[in-house]
Amino acid sequence: MERLEESPLAAWRRHLAQGKLAYQVSPDGEPVFFPRVMAPRTGATGLQWRISEGLGTVYSTTVVYRRDEAPLNVALIEMDEGFRLMSRVEGMDAEAVRIGLRVRVTVRDADGDAPYPVFEALEDQSPTAGKGAA
C-alpha cells in the first residue's frame, strides 16, 4: 500500500493558497466535497482533483447575530460543478443574501491561518444598485 504523503485537507488548502477552489471527482465522475481519501458510497480510491470555475448559487442562507458584532452571513453554496460547501457572501448586506443568488468565489487569506473561500454576488447587490432609474 502506498502511503499518503498529503492529507485531503492539506491538498485543498494548497490549491486555495494559489487562489483556486479545488474539489475531487470520483472514478465514476461524481463530484466529491469535502475532500476525502476515498469516494463516498463506492469506496473507490484514486480521487482526482479538479479546479472549480468558481461559480455557484446560494442554496441556503442565515445571518448570525452575536452581541457586539455586526450581523454575519453564513451560507451554503451549490457550485455549478455539483458540489456544495459552507461559506459566506461578502460585499453586501448580510441580511440581503437570498437563496438563488448567483455568486463567484474569491479566496480569503486568514491572518496567519489557512486560506478559505468566500463568495461575492455576480451582480452588484449594494443598496443603491439598480435604483437609479426608479
Binding site: 485537507l9 441556503s60 448570525v64 460547501l85 459552507m86 491561518d113
Partner: protein, 386 residues
Amino acid sequence: MTTMTLKRGGAAVVGVAESDLGQVAPHMTPIDLMAQATVRALDDCGLSLADVDGVFAATAQARFAPMMLTEYLGINPTYIDGTQIGGSSFMAHLAHAAMALQAGLCKVALIAYGSTQRSVSRALASPPDYNPYEHPYRPFLPASAYALSAARHMHQYGTTREQLAEVAVAARLWAQKNPLAWDRGPLTIQDVLAARMVSAPLGVRDCCLSLDGGGAMIVTTAERARDLPRPPVYALGMGEAVGHGSISNMPDLTTTAAAVSGPRAFAMAGLGPKDVQVLSLYDAFTICPILFLEDLGFCAKGEGGPFVAGGAIAPGGKLAVNTNGGGLSYCHPGMYGLLGMIECVRQVRGEAGERQIAGCDVALAHGNGGVLSSQCTAIFGSQAAL
C-alpha cells in the same frame, strides 16, 4: 443460516423518572443526575439496583458515560452500550436494549442521561467538534444549521415564521399543564416573532432551553414486565437512521433521515401515523417538529407549516405533540431524547395528569441528534396495542 429479527413488543418499559431538572444544586455532575434518575426509575417499577445487568448511557459531558455510571452505581453489568448520536441516542439505546434482552445478554436494562449544561454553560458542556470546512465562517452551531434548514423550507414550501412560532406557542401551552416545566409564562405568536434574532430566521423563542437535567428508563422483557406493579409499556417499533454529520453535507435541507427511521419503526410496529395518539418530536428548534411531522408521514412534505397552524398541535388541537412542553418550554439539557420517551411512557400509562390524552394506547417518540444528522424513532404501546 437463520436471521433473527427484533420482536415487536418483546421488550417493555417498566420504570421511568427524571432527575432534578432546570437548575440543579451546585456542583452536581451529569453522573449524579443519571444515578438520581436511576434510583427514582427503579422505585417506579419496584426493581432494585442489583437487578440491573444492562447499562446504556450517553451524555455530552462524559465520553465514557457507561463506564462512569457503572462505577458510580457499583454494579457489574453483563451488557454495556454507550452509543452517542446526540439527542437520538436513547431511542437507539432502547432498540439495542431490546436486542440484548431478546438475545438473553441482559435481563434488566437501564438507559440513563444526565447533563449540567445550564450550570457549567453550553460552551463547556457541549463543545463542538472542529470542522475545518465550516470553522472559518463562524456558524453559531447548532442554531445556524437549523436556521439554514428553516430558510430552505421557507423558500421551497412557503413556510412562514408565524408557522414556526406556532410550534413554540403550542409547546408553551402544554408546558402550562406540566408542573415540572421550566417556562410556563404566557407566550404569543407575536412574542416569538419579536424575540431577539439568533440565526435568521430563528429567534431566541424558536430555540430550545439550555438547562440541567436527566432521566432514566428501566426496560425488561415483556414476560418479566407483566409481573411488575406498573402497566408495561411495550416497545412496539424502533428505527434508526443517520443522514449526515455536518449541515454542509445534508443532501436535502428540507428532508431528514426521519423519512427512513420512521417507516422502519412503523413497519416493525405494524402501525401507521393514524394509529398514534401522542407524539414526542425532538424540538431543538421550531423547524424540527415541522420537518418530523412531514418525514414521519403525519402530513405531506412541505405541508408541515400549515399543519401546525391555528393551534393544531397545542392542547385541544388535532394532534397532541410534545405534551410535556418539549425542549422549547419544559426542559432541554442538550440531548433531550430520553425525556421525550419518558413523556410517551407516561401518556401510555395514563399518568400524565392535567395533560393526559384520553385513550392513549400508542405514542411515538422521535429523537434527533447533531444537526438534523441522526434520526431515531421509537413507538410505544399499551397492552391493548400489543
